[in-house]
Symmetry: C2
């Protein structure tokens, strides 16, 4: 039970975007270099983030990505769900025909509670907070 690499890289990417002045357009190779992420993989991840309304894609010579929302309005939950889909802690919580036992299974009920706790926990952290800490670290190196 682990976040995927795609989620890990998506989170890094959105941290970097969240550090930029509002409205800034940033290119993928810069994000990839600054956050230690493979550039091709990050390009695909940003397409998912764009579809989820977290970043905006800008075409053309000065193209790239900007944040679609304020960093304080984007949570870890938003970014994980943008790349992995809705968080489903177990197969039985994913759809209506996932398991023959699901109509009565006590385990499913308890795992649904755990899943709610997890989603709530991921929803508590926003990217403004993460960006402030990342920036403070970078400033300390200068």
């Amino acid at each position: 039970m682990k976040l995927t690499r795609a989620s890990d890289y998506a989170i890094r990417g959105v941290v970097y975007m969240s550090m930029q002045p509002q409205g800034s357009i940033v290119v993928i190779p810069e994000v990839a270099r600054e956050m230690d992420v493979p550039v091709g993989f990050l390009a695909r991840i940003f397409q998912s983030l764009s579809r989820a309304g977290i970043v905006i894609s800008h075409r053309g010579k000065k193209g790239g990505y900007s944040m679609a929302r304020k960093p304080e309005e984007v949570t870890l939950r938003d970014v994980v769900e943008a790349v992995e889909g809705d968080i489903k802690l177990n197969i039985c919580l994913d759809g209506y025909n996932a398991c023959d036992r699901m109509s009565f299974c006590p385990v499913r009920k308890e795992l649904a509670n755990v899943q709610n706790d997890l989603v709530t926990s991921l929803g508590k952290t926003n990217f403004a907070d993460l960006a402030v800490q990342e920036k403070a670290h970078r400033d300390s190196l200068e």
Copy 2:
């Protein structure tokens, strides 16, 4: 981010074991049949549960498995960790050299908090409670 199939089946197996009178020895094909789990896979899972001190393996003609602890002393967390190892929500939380950013990364700190919440949440549910509910459902069908 999902529990593995092995965890799902392990949880079912321990629910069934927890429904039995204390000290009962049960064979894997019975558990597999009653809980809709493939028997070969379940046999391997019970070896992990045995190593983790959740069930006891009994050899010989009347061999099988019994609970090593009272069901109220075994939680969802115990069983998941028995088959998946310690819960690590992200690669960066797994070991000391998992990522070059780990010494300062703000995301890692927040994911560590989320992971703590998740582990705590899984530790709240014990198998006595699950077994009571499973048994109540079975009794209602008779």
